[in-house]
């Protein structure tokens, strides 16, 4: 069967590699909970390259201003047109931060308007069940950041499918630990990451 390879997108601006532990952690979770054939090692792919089209799901994160170059913007548009999906997570845990402002502007320009994703969306039930919508992160709950829980993720959709999934919840911090650490958790907090991957592979 088709092997799933977790890909992190490298863009010219900002700090694209701010969460290096997230990919191996999600790969571990996919292998742990599903029968999806997953490549053991993640890859890094330049957004402006032809290589981008080998990976129909790409994860983007960062803290700093987020801008596409012209080549990246062109490639991402084609990528989305052909059925690719971006998962973009704001690694800051604040409101109106620089990444959020620039990323939402750039994604709107490139892909279309981001809108709140209903908490009843199938993303929250396609594998694990999240009846209340996106799980809150510890950063949202402990007041380190904006001291607010973001009620919704945002998305650009086409024909009912998510093309761009945008999170302000800082899952990049939440999931940024070594997979062995999961044994200390009462509930694995990467389960929602598995849902994102299952959604991308089946919708």
């Amino acid at each position: 069967m088709t092997t799933f390879t977790f890909a992190t997108g490298r863009y010219q601006s900002g700090d694209w590699d701010a969460a290096p532990l997230v990919p191996p952690n999600l790969i571990d979770s996919v292998a742990r909970y599903t029968t999806i054939e997953v490549a053991p090692a993640p890859v890094i792919v330049d957004l402006g390259s032809r290589e981008l089209f080998r990976y129909p799901l790409v994860y983007l994160t960062g803290h700093l201003p987020f801008r596409f170059t012209t080549a990246e913007r062109t490639a991402v548009r084609k990528y989305l047109d052909r059925g690719g999906m971006l998962f973009v997570d704001d690694h800051n845990h604040d409101i109106g931060g620089v990444f959020h402002q620039t990323a939402t502007e750039e994604l709107t320009t490139t892909a279309g308007r981001l809108e709140d994703l209903p908490n009843t969306h199938e993303l929250y039930s396609c594998f694990f069940q999240f009846p209340d919508g996106p799980p809150a992160t510890s950063h949202e709950l402990n007041g380190w950041g904006d001291n607010l829980v973001h009620d919704h993720l945002q998305a650009v959709t086409r024909d009912g499918r998510i093309e761009v999934l945008y999170s302000s919840k800082d899952y990049s911090s939440e999931w940024g630990y070594r997979p062995d650490t999961k044994r200390f958790l009462a509930v694995d907090n990467t389960r929602f990451g598995v849902n994102i991957i299952v959604y991308a592979l089946t919708r």
């Binding site: 069967m1 088709t2 799933f4 029968t35 080998r54 129909p56 059925g83 919708r203």
Partner: protein, 427 residues
């Protein structure tokens, strides 16, 4: 020795005699013959009515601009059956033996395939009751094929002066397509390609031992619900019995190379070891770079639908009432994602053709169209025989005027001969 006047008189007598002989020959050789009524183009219908009612005749000749239509053909044939000698001719310099056929294909958008027989280079124009639809030149093979988005009714094809009308087009009872796969890019993008083509698609993707991702709660592999089942990425595992029953009852099945082993009794052949693919697919021919497990050891009755070089990429066969296609390509989703600007459309069309080739879509028959005339020239020759030598609009007028002119010439020659004799005092 004869005088000059006598020689002239002999010449005039000979000319008059030759004119009479020629007139007799002309009357015999024209097919219409003596007593044959001739109907001109545009007046044939009126003439047919007259010949059949108020003005019975023993021989008729109908002239047409092109080919007689169905009514004229049948009417002339009826006259022949009543003992009338019938001939026909056409003003067209050449008659094209064309024919048209229209049939629906298994496509949720109601696409109709129109095939027109036409010689190479001839201008072929198709249309329906609302007007022209498309045109193309005749090709070497003698058949020009069009794919026309439905609905269409009364499809017509014009080749030169000959116009053919296709018969009734049946509707197809379209059902859903089921995609069985393990969660992965192949199953996802196959389902998406078919959805983009308009097929209603159910999916069942294996995700974990505890459960699958399903788009429908009603999951019974049955011909009442599914026109075709696509099994890729080992999706057929665990469904062998259901698939065998489904195909036996008329269902269409497409098997990916990894699914052949799950239902070997249905597969048209075996899968050979994979050939290596290309990391980057060429934009001009994306499928040429895909990983391929060629279809080998085809069973008797299996037909090859597609090849890459000498390797079989798609083969199909009938199994009881159903049809099964086996593909050799792995990861066709790369065609969509990496196949350049035309990749999405190419991938989508390829899968749509494949599903159309096996889909179980019963026809809903309609009443036949009375005006259908799919092969007018062939039918005319079958019913009335070949056109006679009267053909040729330009010659027609000369043919009619010639006897009057000739008669005048004969009279003048005889009067001159008589006058010459009288002038010279002879009787």
């Amino acid at each position: 020795m004869r005088s000059r006047a006598e020689r002239i008189e002999w010449a005039l007598r000979a000319a008059a005699l030759a004119g009479v002989v020629w007139s007799i020959w002309w009357c015999v050789s024209t097919g219409a013959g003596s007593g044959a009524e001739v109907a001109e183009p545009g007046a044939v219908h009126a003439a047919l009515a007259r010949w059949s009612t108020t003005d019975p005749v023993s021989a008729v000749h109908a002239r047409f601009e092109s080919v007689p239509d169905g009514v004229e053909r049948d009417w002339l044939r009826a006259l022949r059956g009543a003992g009338v000698r019938v001939g026909w001719s056409t003003g067209a310099t050449t008659l094209v033996a064309t024919a048209v056929d229209a049939e629906p294909i298994a496509d949720p958008r109601g696409v109709v395939r129109v095939a027109v027989a036409a010689p190479r280079g001839a201008a072929v124009v198709i249309g329906d009751r609302l007007g022209p639809i498309d045109s193309a030149p005749g090709s070497r093979g003698g058949i020009v094929a069009f794919r026309v988005p439905g609905p269409v009714s009364g499809v017509r094809a014009a080749v030169g002066t000959v116009q053919a009308t296709a018969g009734a087009i049946d509707s197809l009872a379209m059902r859903r397509v089921l995609v069985l796969a393990h969660a992965g890019w192949e199953g996802k993008f196959v389902a998406r390609a078919l959805q983009d083509e308009g097929w209603p698609v159910d999916v069942r993707f294996g995700v974990s031992p505890k459960g699958d991702v399903e788009s429908s709660r009603s999951f019974v592999i049955d011909t009442a619900r599914y026109a075709a089942v696509v099994a890729v990425d080992s999706g057929a595992s665990g469904h062998a019995l259901a698939l065998e029953r489904y195909v036996a009852s008329g269902g269409g099945l497409i098997l990916g190379p990894r699914d052949v082993a799950a239902v070997p009794s249905l597969a048209p052949g075996a899968s050979a070891p994979e050939t290596r693919g290309l990391a980057e697919l060429p934009d001009s021919a994306p499928s040429s770079g895909l990983v391929l497990a060629p279809v080998v050891k085809q069973l008797p009755g299996a037909v090859v639908l597609e090849r890459r070089d000498s390797l079989v990429t798609v083969a199909a066969r009938r199994v009881e009432r159903g049809r099964v296609a086996q593909i050799g390509y792995e990861d066709t989703w790369r065609w969509r994602m990496q196949g350049g600007d035309s990749g999405v459309a190419g991938h989508r069309a390829w899968w749509a053709r494949l599903v159309a080739a096996v889909a179980n879509v019963p026809a809903i028959e309609r009443d036949p169209i009375a005006a259908a005339d799919p092969a007018p020239l062939a039918t005319a020759i079958d019913r009335l025989g070949a056109p006679s030598v009267l053909a040729g609009g330009g010659r027609r007028g000369a043919d009619e005027e010639l006897p009057a002119w000739l008669f005048a010439g004969i009279v003048v020659a005889l009067v001159a001969e008589w006058a010459s004799r009288r002038v010279h005092g002879r009787r």
